[in-house]
Amino acid sequence: MFYRAAGQFKTSYRADQALFPVRQDAMLLGFILILAWVVFPLTASEFAFQTLLIPILIYSLAALGLNILTGYAGQLSLGTAAFMGVGAYACYKMVTLMPWMSPVVAILLSGVFSAGIGVVFGIPSLRIKGFYLAIATLAAQFFLVWLFEKWAWLYNYNASGAIQVPNLQSFGVYVSGPQATSMVQYYVVLAVVTLLTWVCINLTRGTTGRIWKATRDMDFAAELIGINLMKSKLGAFAVSSYIVGVAGALFVFMWRGAAEPNLFDVPLSFRILFIAIIGGLGSILGNYLGAILIVGLPVILGVLPEVLGMQTDSALAEHLNTMIVGALIIFFLIVEPHGLAQLWRLIREKLVIWPFPH
């Protein structure tokens, strides 16, 4: 009833190509945007900002970047965290070498560096495929983390080997560092995420998106219909790594405040891969759903016993949490291997014909 698409006719191809051919989708998105831009920031507690809102957005963005590469262009990568690291270190070097630079500009530029490194490590994709490529991306993962550790210039020869985000202002407001408030940081993250999501939607629904999907679905056929596989794959690596790099810069500058090299190690890569897969490969929406589940669930599981007034041992809760996340991953893969986005698509299909299913 709410999702009736009947009566909404398109009179031009242009209208049919609009972002939301069904009016209700646009309304739903508007509602979510109001929630994200107005309601959440006004009502969220510090705890909610720091453990739910900001990390969910950043993880979604990282997963979006990975999804471009893996979900759209079909190149499995296990090195996401390392490219996040490249973004974070690039951002750190930029703001410390050029303190006049606005941190927001630095964050957006930092993706350029990760894109460059991404293309270099994407070159093997021209020759190897599938799991072999996935393992090859681990070479980037391990090598880059090692480099973050050994190349003291990257962390300004800091004795601890870690980077510490300085207090930086943009338009007279502290945007990064401990002086920045969570609300400001949230808005910066939200703005960047909104912008990049919109860009990704445009890219994936147009020519580039079709080139990537063709490469993913059947690479030789793609080449035989005129797609330059090298450009397609390396382009996907570049765009993906750009987004991942920006996510990495946000991760450290807008959220964590400090970073050690091993922060960008394999577990983070896997975490982002989980989000992308549980959310749904080849879907933009899925990244958000996946991040809400993977980031939000442990927080809720952690708070739940307390809310229920149960006295639990925090270590036991943590072990149970690990077990539950593991079991949930298997559960979701069995129930809906195409992820939460597909689940939503099915629900939506039902809603469109509700209450008159044939």
């Binding site: 191809y13 147009g206 020519t207 063709a214 793609a222 005129g226 797609i227 330059n228």
Partner: protein
Amino acid sequence: MLDATEGHTTADGRKIGPVVMEMKNITLRFGGVVAIENISFDIREGEIRAIIGPNGAGKSSMLNVVSGFYTPQEGEVWFRGQPRPPMKPYQVARQGIARTFQNIALFEGMTVLDNVMTGRLTHMKAGLFSQALWKGRAEAEETANREIAERVIDFLEIQAIRKTPVSRLPYGLKKRVELARALAAEPKLLLLDEPMAGMNVEEKEDMSRFILDVNDEFGTTIALIEHDMGVVMDLSDRVVVMDYGKKIGDGTPDEVRNNQEVIDAYLGVQH
């Protein structure tokens, strides 16, 4: 070179032009196995040219050489009067050569419409920035090419399934969608690798009609591989016959039908 520049008109009134593609002494080997041995033939503009032969004769390999998917060890491919330098398959496609595949090679994760739109890729030039913003050239191109794609969809009568994911389609329709994708490219030369493999009689008739219509209405040059002799003889203007990587016959369907070597090959007579 015999009538390389002139053309003629067929009995049913179609115009056959000069030679567009010529294979000269092609030899292709995989390791020690010779897939194609010293084969030459030509394709004229506007004609339907068939390549036939028993299994393992090297027909698909020949098509792959034309597409640039395989690079022959010896011989040259001449296209539009010039020898073609070694090219990547996508460069060949951009010269206006489109094809379909023996085992359907559609993009299963995309809708029919998107699959057909991929056929238009060689005609789309918008930059990444314009695409990212969905403004200017990107948006205009999208609409213009959509119209062309829709015309192909109309022509092949697959309007009803345009937003269906390809993976949900039955075999026969998939073959048709694949043809649509190739046609959307508006190719100068269309290569069809067993377009009727695995089809029942009605589907074969439909497909034959489409092939003839394509040739007729757009004047597209077509080279096709087919197993079914009957279909080939009805459709094509000229036929190349291959066996064990060698050319054993070339000519009009009638000439080929009466060629003793061809008959032997098909009946399995020992030489």
